[in-house]
Subunit: 168 residues, 2 copies
């Protein structure tokens, strides 16, 4: 495995590690998140916790991609997809620090997953297209995390208020 | 460019095409979507249109990843991230067929984008972990589209009912 992680009770690592073998498709980084969080211990664990800190963040977009921001300022909220490059990729059963039992990776929002893509729904405060800077309300990733996509958020298809997670 | 597209008025293609040059990170396909849509013309253009067809779909997960589904059955709704492998990657300003004007790629949910990742919020009807099959209410992608991630959907962080897109 590429990144040190002390295995917790019930956790399972796959023998094949995507960080070494994956090559079904290739990504380009289009920018970076600039957040107040430079150490894992300080980084909020989810978007709810990030919003509660009251700390805004910015997103820096590479010069070649800035044309693609035209019209995004109309959106009150956007989806950011990030590449969580500090994450282990072969942990298939995992036990979050504060969970009582281990779960499958796809049942968790943990950054450790075969393709470590972070999904963040954020409020867009201001967009400076020429400078390639998005000002956002908050985010739950480390400073300098690579960005791989931006999408406008549509309440009509993306907001499911009645969604629930059943108790164990 | 790797995929034929007849340029529409106002559209801009980048000289550098990520389909040829991207290599900042590499993905592994963890499964495939099985949908009723085998031709682009028939494929619903978004999740709202997909739900309105009343046609369910399935997701097939590769054998090595099935352990990772444990616990996902508790979620009423999930997020699927797909790799839209038929999409052009260097179109930075585009004019959707039914739009009046062209917009930046990041202001659109078009499959054509530097990293052609599809984001789909779907209702999970049933999960067969042993067979690696998820039964879902509907989806807006072509049959056999590669899957790159599954996440549980949390209304607390993912549902923003008040999100709006301002008129032009």
């Amino acid at each position: 495995m590429s990144i040190n992680h002390t295995k917790r009770e019930g956790e399972i690592e796959l023998d094949v590690d995507p960080s070494e073998t994956a090559d079904d498709a290739r990504l380009v980084f289009i920018g970076r998140i600039r957040s107040p969080w430079t150490e894992r211990a300080a980084c909020p664990k989810n978007m709810k916790a990030a919003r509660e800190t009251g700390q805004p963040a910015t997103v820096e977009i590479g010069a070649e991609w800035r044309q693609g921001l035209a019209g995004l300022e109309r959106a009150s909220h956007i989806v950011l997809l990030t590449w969580l490059d500090q994450s282990q990729r072969n942990l298939i059963i995992q036990k979050p620090r504060h969970a009582e039992t281990a779960s499958g990776t796809f049942a968790l929002r943990s950054p450790a997953r075969p393709n470590p893509i972070g999904l963040h729904v954020v409020r867009l405060l201001r967009l400076d297209q020429a400078e390639g800077v998005l000002h956002i309300e908050a985010i739950d990733v480390l400073d300098k995390t690579p960005l791989i996509d931006i999408k406008p958020y549509y309440a009509s298809t993306d907001a499911v208020a009645e969604a629930v997670i059943a108790p164990r």
